[in-house]
Subunit: 191 residues, 2 copies
Amino acid sequence: MDDFIIKYISSFIKLTPEEEDIIRNQNLIKTFPKDTTLLAEGEHARECYFVLKGCVRRYHNKNGEERTTEFYTENQSIIPVSYTTKSASEYFLSCVEDSVIALGTNERNDELIKQIPKLETMLVKMASLMQANNQVEMDNFKNLTPEERYLNLTETRPDLLNRVPLNYIATYLGITPESLSRIRKRISRNR
Amino acid sequence: MDDFIIKYISSFIKLTPEEEDIIRNQNLIKTFPKDTTLLAEGEHARECYFVLKGCVRRYHNKNGEERTTEFYTENQSIIPVSYTTKSASEYFLSCVEDSVIALGTNERNDELIKQIPKLETMLVKMASLMQANNQVEMDNFKNLTPEERYLNLTETRPDLLNRVPLNYIATYLGITPESLSRIRKRISRNR
């Protein structure tokens, strides 16, 4: 699993064998069983995450109802708002599947950057890419109809539909489970 | 205006007087009249922006209809998706008001970082903060009803309502101008 991290970092910057060893020796990786809550509403996040295997769901509790706002799967980073802004988290992060996750903390990241300064270059690139992806997601959500959002999901993240309960998918698409069910029926009729 | 940039950067990292001078000597700042298109759909963005004064609108053209997805005002950075991913832009960036904007390019940023390496630390912090803001915006948009979105806007960015035509605000909130008009009437009746 360490080699996934090395591979991911190497997609941004070139690491020497010594630097690869420094990263391998961090013991960053932990395994979490399904349904583990990584972060609860009201908590102050002290960790950020990189999903090596599995699926993590971000959700809000609105008047007792869970609203899913994001799914993170393999090779995706999770930087909780609360981690960046040092405020109480407005949402939960929970494992939808047994998950293998690399963990970062501010202290550990600072320490690593001291040893491998060019990691900062990687962090700029990574955060910029996340920011760009967020823009695309936001624009898609605003510009597409619910049916178009669903079709977009089947194209861009087809695996999610087999990994995640449909009621999570519904709130993620901003619709009710009943609407999602109608959309799915309509589409399968027309195919 | 240069001093706004210095002030903004200094909110992330400490600059020496010499470093401040290096930044001042960049001549980064340009003035654009209202309605200037900074980036058109299909173009490859070669610049990123920091709004010193004015307002820039991000919008998509969907079947001949303009859909506003973001407004950038004073002290906000704009890093176009196309700038990060080196792809053709899916959206337009246009000045809603006469605007004073600091411009960055990849080459210029690299050159500046060579002279002031700790600017990279600032870029990590800035991109992380933008990423956190995007998460909050996305979650709000998904979790709030159109009326709640409007009320949230009046609280978080009250200036926008006086600066920007209501039909831009409507698509930004994901509703029709007619719905926005109904919501505004309902709220003013209940106050």
